[in-house]
């Protein structure tokens, strides 16, 4: 029973001296970040890379902002040299220490070619964590950015938006009179955000009523449920949508799934919607995976030292029905992890488009003064060793259209009767509404009903009509006897019965 490791102790003695991370002085924070990144970042950055990056970052800004030309040596490659330059520049460029720290840190991080390693101020950190927990300050609606349009895809209950006249499907045109035309999602988000209690006037277009309207809203703190779901109208197939992997996600998912299986004890299938779910906590993803497998490999992770670790799901429960996971290009990180694990364990198939491709895991390290560093430590792989990072997961069933993804998922688990209609701009598939940018139905000049081609294609399984946006539905009604269109009250309802089943 001999003690077997001694090298470890030698290692401590060696590193014990150099890695006292809690340094003193005006540039302590730069030093902290430098050590953390140097010792831990997945990419194994070199000392020189970090030092040069920090110096370069400050030099650039000084040139741009104050027309100052700062000089440093291309040979500078130690923390001591970096700190010496910083002190020098502090006097010369009249930059205060905290600005220098910020610039140096951003400069170092920019050399990593890793958008997920980032410096957080205390406020940034709170905002980030609130985002993961689905807590936000805002008006209480969720948006979807598609084809250049900002679409309200969900109104959060008990929020200012719910109390106002806003409706799902409204298109956001302007904020306080400033047009959103040509803005991307991030820019629009910046225009919408603001302090709790402040107000803004939103201009929206409502396609269903074909009119523009203005709504005045006050921003409030809102916690959004992470999970939504229910049964499709046949009562045999469940639907659970997950917005984020916050700390409540697993419990909410568990409760929702129990509620669904209680309503429908002989569930024939489940759709899990991970579209536009940007991820969150790994532990939540693992707990949710445990609702699908009693035991199974969740993932492999590797780090900079070539250490590969398996993470297992244990003491979960098996499902006895097929599962389809809806994915799109907004399905990222923990979502990809869960989707990949359930697919590789033979539990689920993926329907939709290729996923985002964020196959790395970060940890948040507190720095002094309440700041924090989010740092990439691991890359993960699916149980079959599929690479996710920068690659994304290919779906088993490919479909680009948001509503058609649902239809194809239902088809693939043997659903044989479909009912589609439009409601407030949403496309309602077998009783569950999904946000749509393009309406399901349109009338042409002659008053004939057109239907969105991709959706019709997914319903009848005719792949030849995917190229058009909208098609006249009449010929298909003749070709497919079980395809019917009811047009009472000017709200068409499409039904389809899969023949031969």
């Amino acid at each position: 029973m001999k003690r077997i490791f001694s090298w470890v102790i030698a290692a401590l003695l060696v590193f014990g001296v150099s890695s006292v991370h809690a340094a003193d002085g005006p540039f302590a924070e730069t030093a902290e970040v430098y050590h953390q990144v140097l010792d831990n970042h997945l990419s194994r950055p070199s000392e020189k890379q970090l030092v040069q990056g920090a110096l370069e970052g400050i030099k650039k800004l000084a040139e741009k902002e104050s027309n100052l030309s700062l000089q440093y040596s291309a040979e500078d490659d130690t923390l001591e040299e970096l700190e010496r330059r910083l002190s020098e520049w502090k006097d010369k460029a009249k930059l205060d220490a905290s600005t220098l720290n910020r610039l140096a840190i951003e400069g170092m991080l920019s050399t990593l070619d890793d958008p997920h390693t980032m410096f957080f101020t205390k406020d940034d950190l709170e905002l980030f964590q609130a985002g993961v927990e689905n807590q936000l300050v805002g008006f209480g609606f969720r948006m979807r950015f598609q084809n250049g349009l900002m679409l309200i895809r969900e109104i959060i209950p008990n929020s200012p938006a719910a109390a106002s006249g806003l409706k799902k499907g409204d298109q956001l045109l302007a904020v306080d009179g400033a047009s959103l035309k040509g803005k991307n999602a991030e820019e629009a988000y910046l225009m919408l955000r603001g302090e709790e209690g402040t107000e803004a006037v939103l201009t929206v277009f409502r396609p269903g009523e074909n009119r523009e309207l203005q709504v005045k809203l006050k921003r409030a703190a809102i916690t959004v449920p992470e999970v939504e779901g229910g049964l499709f109208q046949d009562g045999r197939i469940g639907y659970i949508g997950l917005e984020t992997f916050g700390s409540e996600a697993a419990v909410q998912f568990h409760d929702k799934l129990d509620q669904i299986t209680k309503q429908s004890p002989s569930l024939k299938g489940l759709l899990v919607d991970l579209r536009d779910n940007g991820g969150g906590y790994l532990s939540s993803a693992r707990d949710i995976a445990s609702l699908f497998m009693e035991e199974g490999l969740l993932m492999y992770t590797t780090n900079r030292n070539g250490v590969e670790v398996q993470t297992w799901v244990r003491n979960g429960r098996d499902v006895n029905y097929p599962v389809r996971i809806l994915v799109n290009e907004g399905t990222a990180s923990a979502s990809e992890l869960l989707a990949g694990a359930l697919r590789d364990n033979g539990i689920a198939k993926l329907v939709g488009t290729k996923t985002f491709g964020k196959g790395s895991a970060q940890q948040i390290i507190p720095l002094s003064e309440g700041d924090a560093l989010k740092i990439t430590l691991h890359e993960y792989f699916t149980p079959k060793h599929t690479k996710v990072n920068h690659v994304g997961l290919e779906p088993d069933v490919k479909e680009e259209d948001y509503a058609a993804q649902v239809v194809r998922a239902l088809h693939s688990i043997g659903v044989n009767s479909f009912q589609l209609e439009a409601e407030d701009g949403d496309t309602v598939v077998n009783g569950i509404a999904f946000a749509a940018v393009d309406p399901l139905f349109k009338k042409d000049e002659q008053g004939k009903w057109l239907i969105r081609a991709k959706v019709l294609s997914s319903v009848i399984g005719d792949e030849s009509l995917g190229a058009n946006d909208y098609v006249d539905i009449t010929p298909y009604l003749q070709k497919y006897p079980t395809l019917r269109l009811a047009t009472d009250k000017d709200a068409p309802v499409l039904t389809y019965q899969v023949s031969g089943r």
Binding site: R3, I4, S6, Q36, H378
Partner: protein
């Protein structure tokens, strides 16, 4: 900061864990609407007060006549563990700091059942019980009680199953006898196959909690060498020594304020100045004034001691018999004796002599005389007069718990085991003396364990010998050494005299894992360790002893028992024999005076414990768990804990690659 040590306070923590909160302890407290006429009412109410049973809020009923489920019983066991853990600590080594049940290493533990879902209320308690049982009894222990792949958590628990779980607190060495043992302690009776109703379970846990609050399970076990001589717990260290009303004035007020300040650690120089003034004047509470003056952190300990004695003098001047007061005053003197005596052993003698002087002022065979005698005896032990100490203890041991424990402990130390047994056998406690009855049983059990020592040493030596004679084996382990968490696999090939280990470790200063690999040439005593940064192999000698634990690990079991005074405890459970080994730290320090360690001179060893799980068919080691804590003269504290499991049925071949040796030579 107080100069006085806090020896007195330690014992207090033990009892306060499960004291019902004052709000719910009112006599009219009725937590449920369906128990007012139930026979187990008082146990149910106590259980609710302890927090064993959920009450309040939307919970209205207790359903005392419903059958209790397995999961519910396990959850109750889990809650009782809050009080039970310190009883079981010598057997589990699971400290309060460990996030119990979460796993101490890389891999989270999990249940061997398919029907306990991790997102349910029962998962945490069931997992923690499983971890506890596994630590006590070896791999897969919970399945010895609930066999198979299903736990069936909602199935009613039988009395026998319940008894098997309760048996962890009986110290019964043979799990087969769990039912009898639990019966004998009176916790649970009836037919083994009968179900247990919720009301009955309330009584079971009421009895268990009372049992656990009375005494620890191995009253004689002194694994850190700090327990004996044992003195009573002090209940209140800061009394006022006289009644005072809420509205006090004058000197009374000055005194009460000073005492309160000391009690709440808010005392200053001013506090003691005020007390000194009172001592010089005519203030009548001399006992209190001198007692609190003895707490002055700015005066020499000799002065403090004088005040401590003056307080006793004042007590006798008052001529009122208050045994509890006298006990506190003598405890105060004893506390200082321990502080001064550790550097100047002559102080023990001096203080003892002065204490002996008070004997004539007290009537013999009274509570008052015992209050003094328990400390006189402790000091007799300190000065080495064992016979005198035994004589004092013997006089009042039949009805005094600490005296009884000390008597039996020192009789055993004195190798008078049969006298200890005879003494216990001859005791005739009254029925109402439940503490003495329980303690006597526990002591008898422990003496029986003492008788087994030689045979346990033989058994363990035999197993170690079997392991040494294997051609090879494979060990998988997880350990923490000085904050480094390591997970490894080691292959040991005795034929080629080589070992190969691979693993990963987590440095406390890093966020990511590192690799680790080594080869050991056990013939030349050279270890080659991989430096993954420089991609080289680094040789080192392995015959030098780095830590104290290396020295102890190098000793045979027999030597550990003979030289280091190791104590052993053996249990059998399922397929395993479990041997727990405790080595008193003071003995290790004594024996190691002349041992040279790379790490320096050893100062103290607070904990040194091993646990061996032995397959009772093959006598081979299945698993080894350890926890060592060492303090060096440099004040460095080294903790080393871990566990290893052994695969002995494997064909292990290790040869040290040539490039390893060659690379290291460069």
């Amino acid at each position: 900061m107080q100069k006085k040590s806090k020896v007195l306070t330690c014992a207090l923590l033990v009892c306060s864990l499960l004291v019902p909160s004052a709000a719910s302890a009112a006599s009219s407290y009725m937590p449920y609407s369906d128990i007012s006429k139930h026979w187990a009412k008082s146990s149910i109410i106590r259980g609710a007060q302890y927090g064993l049973f959920a009450s309040g809020g939307s919970i209205e009923r207790f359903y005392p006549n419903r059958e209790l489920t397995r999961a519910e019983f396990v959850a109750l066991m889990d809650r009782v563990f809050v009080v039970g853990q310190q009883h079981l600590y010598p057997l589990t080594f699971l400290s309060e700091h460990d996030e119990f049940g979460k796993g101490e290493g890389f891999d989270e533990p999990y249940l061997p059942y398919k029907d306990v879902d991790r997102l349910t209320w029962m998962y945490g308690p069931t997992l923690r019980m499983s971890v506890l049982l596994e630590r006590l009894y070896g791999p897969g222990a919970i399945q010895e009680i609930f066999p198979g792949q299903l736990f069936s958590p909602n199935q009613p628990i039988t009395r026998e199953e319940a008894a098997k779980l309760l048996a962890i607190y009986t110290m019964e060495t043979d799990q087969q006898k769990a039912w009898n043992m639990v019966n004998e302690w009176g916790w649970l009776t009836g037919r083994p196959s009968d179900k247990l109703k919720r009301g009955e379970a309330a009584v079971v846990f009421d009895r268990l909690v009372q049992f656990l609050q009375r005494d620890v399970m191995l009253p004689l076990l002194d694994y850190d060498g700090q327990k004996f001589p044992m003195v009573p717990e002090v209940q209140d260290m800061f009394p006022l020594f006289a009644p005072y009303t809420d509205q006090v004035t004058g000197d009374d007020q000055i005194y009460v304020n000073a005492a309160e300040a000391i009690r709440f650690h808010e005392d200053s120089e001013e506090t003691f100045r005020a007390l000194r003034k009172l001592a010089e004047g005519t203030f009548d509470n001399k006992v209190g004034v001198h007692y609190y003056l003895s707490w002055d952190p700015d005066t020499e300990i000799a002065d403090n001691l004088e005040h401590a004695f003056k307080a006793i003098d004042a007590y006798f001047d008052d001529r009122i018999v208050l045994p509890d007061t006298l006990q506190l005053l003598v405890a105060n003197v004893y506390d200082m004796a321990l502080q001064t005596g550790s550097t100047d052993p002559k102080m023990y003698e001096k203080i003892l002599e002065r204490l002996n002087g008070y004997e004539q002022k007290i009537r013999k065979n009274t509570k008052e005389s015992e209050a003094l005698a328990i400390y006189q005896a402790a000091l007799e032990v300190k000065v080495g007069h064992m016979d005198k100490a035994l004589e004092i203890y013997r006089a009042f041991a039949p009805h005094h718990q600490e005296a009884l424990k000390n008597l039996v402990y020192y009789l055993v130390q004195n190798e008078q085991l049969s006298e200890a047994e005879a003494f216990l056998a001859g005791l005739q406690p009254k029925k109402t003396e439940v503490e003495i009855i329980q303690l006597t049983r526990l002591l008898q059990q422990e003496l029986a364990i003492d008788l087994e020592q030689a045979s346990i040493v033989r058994d363990l030596s035999f197993t170690m010998g079997r392991m040494e004679n294997l051609k090879g084996y494979k060990a998988e382990g997880e350990a923490v050494l000085r904050g480094f968490l390591v997970k490894y696999t080691e292959e040991v090939d005795r034929l080629s005299k080589a070992r190969h280990a691979t693993g990963i470790y987590q440095s406390p200063q890093k966020l990511v894992l590192d690799k680790w690999e080594s080869y050991t040439d056990t013939e030349k005593n050279i270890k080659y360790e991989r430096n993954f940064d420089s991609e080289s192999w680094e040789p080192s000698r392995v015959d030098q002893q780095e830590f104290m634990s290396d020295y102890v690990a190098g000793m045979s079991v027999k030597d550990r028992a003979r030289i280091l005074g190791a104590r052993y405890y053996k249990q059998s459970f399922g397929e395993y024999d479990i041997i727990t080994e405790w080595i008193p730290g003071d003995k290790i320090v004594e024996a190691a005076q002349n041992v040279s360690l790379n790490h320096g001179k050893i100062k103290s060893v607070p904990v040194y414990m091993n646990k061996y799980y032995i397959d009772s068919d093959s006598d081979l080691l299945v698993k080894h768990v350890w926890r060592y804590e060492e303090v060096y003269n440099t004040q460095e504290y080294v903790a080393y804990a871990g566990e290893e499991t052994y695969k002995t049925q494997v064909d292990v071949r290790v040869s040290i690659p040539r490039e390893v040796v060659k690379g290291a030579a460069r």
